[in-house]
Symmetry: C2
Subunit: 750 residues, 2 copies
């Protein structure tokens, strides 16, 4: 969808000349082409690559990570792609020593590498693996009492405050889940904690959901989730080079001035270790949703009865990341790019994360190469990217996107991302106008287990859930599923390599993968994320790996060859309309709730209702949410809906317009997503410029749509909320105006 608006006349002329040729690919009609493509997708290939690439630890900087990049480079070239490796040098800390031990009431050594499991050969082969740690924590050596903070999210700190428990000077013990990992030590640090332990509670990824490994795929007692705690809600990528590529010549911040690095030490631990600490904690009992699933009483802790020694020392040198970039030049529109990526680095072996997605990408590349060899030529340029350094903070993709920002904004129509792939149901998130494209592809790719289209299986899941668990069912989804209609795309937050494309550069993006029926949550970011685990519990036979290749391959083929990128703007307008409704409801219900709280506090209701065994004071009075004028947003949304309908109508009959008009319309719409960017960026995080999609500052992975407004309300920065009603409405108006302009070109002259 993206060509520079000031596209050269030469390019326009070329588009004009080649207008319909693109619809007839060299190798035959699209359906034949896709059938050929499908036939070239081999699960045997994927199994072989997966086993090989996950045979040794392949974290950033490891020999096997580099070997995997080199191997892919060779394969891409062998398959006929114009491929190269692009290297960046990034700040990536690796642990020199990690210490976690309980010192009071008795000394118990905790932490360390995960033990081997007899059934899993990989787990016996950890030479070169890093011990469990979280990247970009702040080195330190502290001994302090422990406070259990549940998920360590803002609500949990409210619950602690209501009980008069402070984490100041303490080490918090947070469980994984609810929000992104990195928020836990960041919020702990903001509340005065001196250290942070994060553990995997069995309620979240072990025996409550799956049999512990290796009986099932659930997290075993000694399993630990590694990960990044870089504050990527500010900006992802190399902490030393925000906004620019981490090339040899880049001007770098120092570690001390980089704002995305934590100040306090943090380590992840297993639930076996966490249980030993929790069993000793005192203070009020933790009940309800705030306790986890261990077979013991949880207490908030905080006294001197339990002290833990936590120390981390890291090697803070720069490390290389190796992106493998492969290009297949477009025969008609070489300057219109479809970029397709997945990362290849992992925390240990990474068989599921990221290699299940990576081998699907490789299958696609191999098949496209074979089609090319058979004479097919894509109309547009296809760029396949195998990113390095995603795990520590989307390093490879972000540095590449920042380095090539100008060219990408000129040429990239679309970025299609995958990452770890499981089995079950298609999960699809992305820019709203791509809904139709994705649904069409999902209608044409069969679910490997049931033999029905993946889209139909997704609809079945929604309808079954509506009956089985109606309370958790979305009426909107049910309505769409019931009528066999299209399922809307989820909004993109963060957590994988699309961030720089969508949120920094304004390039329409998709993120695709199967899930819901695998047990990869139990091995996630641990030593047990292995070939054995994947082939037993996540995607035996890699059947869904093949399905993913067929799905993404279709999208790539269709976008590469279509006369115009198959966007449907009414879908985006409908989504934006829903987002506007949501923020209005949010403002109104938060205001109502604030006023209720004020009344209840005045009437001392919380004092009267307090329990003798767990007396909690009244929730903190945060003031009353003011009325906020949303009219500019409502106007913009209305404008967008009308403009989108008109544009879609013109696009529906674009074939009947003169070729020159077609090219003009395509040029108008190519870069339209960049109009959602505002150069000022979001409050306190200018790197994030998209006014419609962003990761939440307090969710991390989870998306916040209309983020300037929504988070302004949620976080009670009401001046920000008011200001971003303006910024956001302006972006949407600009987008709508561009649609108006495109539609006007398609109307018969008066």
């Amino acid at each position: 969808m993206i060509i520079r608006p000031s596209v050269s006349l030469a390019a326009l002329a070329l588009a004009l000349v080649a207008g319909t040729a693109a619809a007839q690919p060299v190798a035959g009609d699209p359906q034949t082409l896709e059938k050929s493509f499908d036939a070239m997708i081999s699960t045997a290939d994927q199994m072989r690559w997966l086993q090989d690439m996950s045979s040794a630890p392949n974290q950033v900087g490891s020999p096997h990570d580099k070997a995997n990049a080199d191997m892919q480079l060779a394969l891409f070239r062998q398959w006929g792609w114009d491929a190269h490796i692009e290297r960046f040098d990034v700040l990536y800390p690796t642990p020199i020593s990690t210490t976690v031990e309980m010192v009071t009431p008795q000394r118990v050594i905790l932490g360390g590498q995960e033990p081997a499991i007899a059934a899993d050969p990989s787990s016996q082969n950890t030479a070169g693996a890093l011990p469990p740690y979280v990247a970009y924590q702040g080195d330190g050596d502290v001994t302090a009492p422990v406070v259990y903070v549940n998920y360590g999210m803002p609500d949990d700190y409210d619950a602690l405050e209501q009980r008069g428990i402070s984490v100041r000077g303490k080490i918090v013990l947070a469980r994984y889940g609810s929000g992104w990992r990195g928020l836990k030590p960041r919020l702990a640090q903001e509340h005065g904690a001196v250290g942070c332990l994060i553990y995997s509670d069995p309620a979240d990824d072990s025996y409550a959901e799956a049999d512990p490994y290796p009986r099932g795929g659930g997290r075993p007692e000694a399993g630990v989730q590694r990960g990044s705690v870089q504050d990527m809600t500010q900006y992802p990528g190399d902490p030393l080079t925000p906004g620019i590529g981490a090339t040899a010549s880049a001007h770098r911040l120092t570690r001390q001035t980089a704002t995305t690095i934590l100040k306090i030490p943090a380590l992840p631990i297993s639930y076996g270790d966490a249980a030993k600490i929790i069993a000793q904690l005192d203070g009020p009992l933790v009940t309800g949703a705030e306790r986890g699933g261990l077979g013991l009483a949880y207490h908030w802790g905080g006294s001197d009865a339990v002290k833990v020694h936590l120390a981390v020392r890291s090697d803070w040198s720069l490390k290389p990341v190796y992106d493998v970039i492969a290009v297949m030049r477009g025969s008609v529109y070489p300057d219109q790019w479809i970029v397709r990526g997945n990362h290849h680095d992992a925390w240990v072996f990474g068989a599921s994360d990221p290699l299940t997605g990576q081998v699907a990408l490789m299958s696609e590349a191999k098949a496209l190469g074979q089609l090319y060899r058979q004479g097919w030529r894509p109309a547009r340029t296809i760029v396949y990217a195998s990113w390095d350094g995603e795990e520590p903070g989307l390093l490879g993709s972000t540095e590449w996107a920042e380095t090539h920002a100008a060219e990408l904004q000129r040429k990239a129509l679309l970025y299609v991302n995958t990452d770890n792939n499981g089995r079950g149901f298609l999960g699809a998130e992305g820019s709203g106008e791509l809904q139709h494209l994705v649904n069409q592809a999902a209608n044409d790719v069969l679910d490997p287990r049931t033999g029905v289209p993946t889209a139909e299986r997704g609809r079945a899941a929604i309808l079954a859930a509506q009956y089985v668990a109606p309370a958790r069912s979305s009426p909107e989804l049910v309505e769409a599923a019931r009528s066999g209609g299209e399922l809307p795309l989820g909004a993109l937050g963060s957590g994988s390599d699309y961030s720089a494309f969508l949120q920094h550069l304004g390039i329409a993006s998709l993120n695709l993968g199967f899930g819901g029926e695998d047990q990869s949550g139990g091995s996630y970011h641990s030593v047990y994320d292995s070939y054995y685990h994947v082939t037993h519990f996540d995607d035996p036979g890699l059947l869904y790996g093949a399905a993913l290749s067929k799905l993404v391959g279709r999208i790539v083929l269709r976008v590469a060859d279509a006369p115009r990128v198959p966007a449907r703007y009414s879908d985006f307008a409908a989504q934006v309309g829903r987002y506007v409704d949501q923020v209005m409801t949010l403002a109104a219900s938060q205001r109502e709730r604030d006023r209720t709280l004020a009344d209840l506090r005045r009437d001392k209701v919380f004092t009267l209702a307090a329990s003798p065994t767990d007396p909690v004071v009244a929730p903190v009075d945060k003031g009353v949410t003011p009325l906020i004028d949303m009219l500019p947003l409502q106007n913009a949304s209305d404008h967008l809906k009308r403009a989108a309908a008109a544009a879609d109508s013109v696009l529906g009959r674009i074939d009947r317009l003169p070729p020159a008009t077609q090219a003009q319309i395509t040029a108008e719409l190519a870069s339209i997503d960049q109009l959602l960017l505002d150069p000022v960026g979001l409050p306190s995080r200018p790197w994030y410029r998209n006014m419609v999609y962003a990761p939440g500052t307090l969710t991390g992975y989870g998306a916040k749509t209309l983020p300037g407004v929504r988070e302004g309300i949620e976080q009670r920065r009401f001046d920000d909320a008011r200001a971003y009603v303006g910024h956001t409405a302006a972006a949407i108006e600009a987008y709508a105006a561009r649609l108006d302009a495109a539609a006007a070109l398609g109307r018969p002259p008066a």
Copy 2:
């Protein structure tokens, strides 16, 4: 509220003469009287009685149970009451031997008496205590594979059936909770199981809610809940004498012909024991709400991998129960009775259940005796009852009520029940027209911890919950609480001694107690229900025991002395209106859900959505709920509302009517609750005759209102539902017509 409608002219004349005298009790005005009463309530008395009465095991037939009855008889007499003991001889099985052991994959002895806990002296004094068992199971000796059935309720059997797991020939392992204990073995038996184990899962009454005893009041690892599994949803009381008193001369069924006794053996076990079994089970994993809180993976089981040997042999001889009955004769209306009861038998020591309630009753009786000694004479007769044999099946109260049915229906205006009492918030259930009476009393009794009226504290809890947990909040309750209005009474199901009065005889009833802030759930029906537990974790100092005495004492005093029983019929009419709305919504939503299921089955949605690791077939097609004509119920409810408003209006100015008219109106209304009885009773359980209130056949304790209609719909006996629309509407119409008649008496002649 109950005098025979055909009250004798002599009684009417007496009422007429004494009309206003009753409003002025001998000892002074009501407020002064109540103040004097309050001053006589002593927590020291209650502590002493509690310690003494819980000092040894006091189950039915035990020496200490008889000693407690004798002690109470002596006290009542000492306090000036006309007291006696009434004995019945009932079938009450006690275990001779109980065996539960895992025999496959290895032999592990389970079960047996609960171990002593050092901190709790009672637990070291179990001589004469029965081992953990459930009364009225069917003796047997079986060895069979084990199936985990979650709560063992109908939905759980659906979940098993969907997974193709049968309990036929197996032993089920059910956790306590969700429905009444006795339903678990009954449903197991109906599904072909040969035995039933019931255990207390820590998710329900231990570390998820409270620290295990003695650190807190939660159930310790070895704690076991005893109880009755008699099928009291058919009829409570002695299984051999349904509908008649178990007197010496009564005609008795045999054990074999009594339908409320199980056919299969059953035993309760601890979660320590249950964990040993669950850890060995295979079959599909149990997830979500169906698993409990043990720190391990739950499986449904069912294979030969785990076998358990379960054997029970009992002494099935008749045992004596001793009801203590104390009477204080009314000075004005001696044939209008207020009956007040609590039971004195327990499973072991019974400090909480039932003695916390029993000592509150004793405090009331002592204070009433002192008032009597000071010259006060109640206008109506007060009957205090200390029931025996409640635990096995409401034996003492049911046999007494059946024996004296005719006299009670002639004389008893009201039955007020208590049972175990905790601390926190007032729980009040009962006949809808008593709402105002209870709310007034609750406005006048202060919460011991906060010093505000108990009603206000109840409102505070509802308002706080509305803010803290809005999803679980009832808008109707919140609205009432917000305006400082009255909180509706809950409907009475079963589980304590009001059943025979309300549901068999049609006598207006109340059940009252404090709870929500105690931890008595953790000691419930175990050896650890002790003086130590109560005074540390349930009601330290018995402050809420005193509050309960003041609350119930007020209700007794007010009903005893008021010119008319303070009923407000509009409250009952409003409740009935809500019940009618509920059954109409139930029928409509069940029909909608049935039709959705039919559609989804037709479209094979469940097959397509099925998981590879836990494939469940489609929910069973139970047909589509038909449209059921509810007009008779709607008409009756409308009639009731109008009639109640008119009657309340007349009662509001009854003082201004001629005394003869007052007496006539009182006579009309006295037995009005008996009009809710239909002599045919409820479907398949004729003992239950109340068309508005019943325990659910599939909930046990939980009430079902308009039970003939509601359960007919829920259980898909649609002919029953149609028939009971008629029965129920007729009862409500009769009630409304009686109100019309009373109101007509109060209108000025035309």
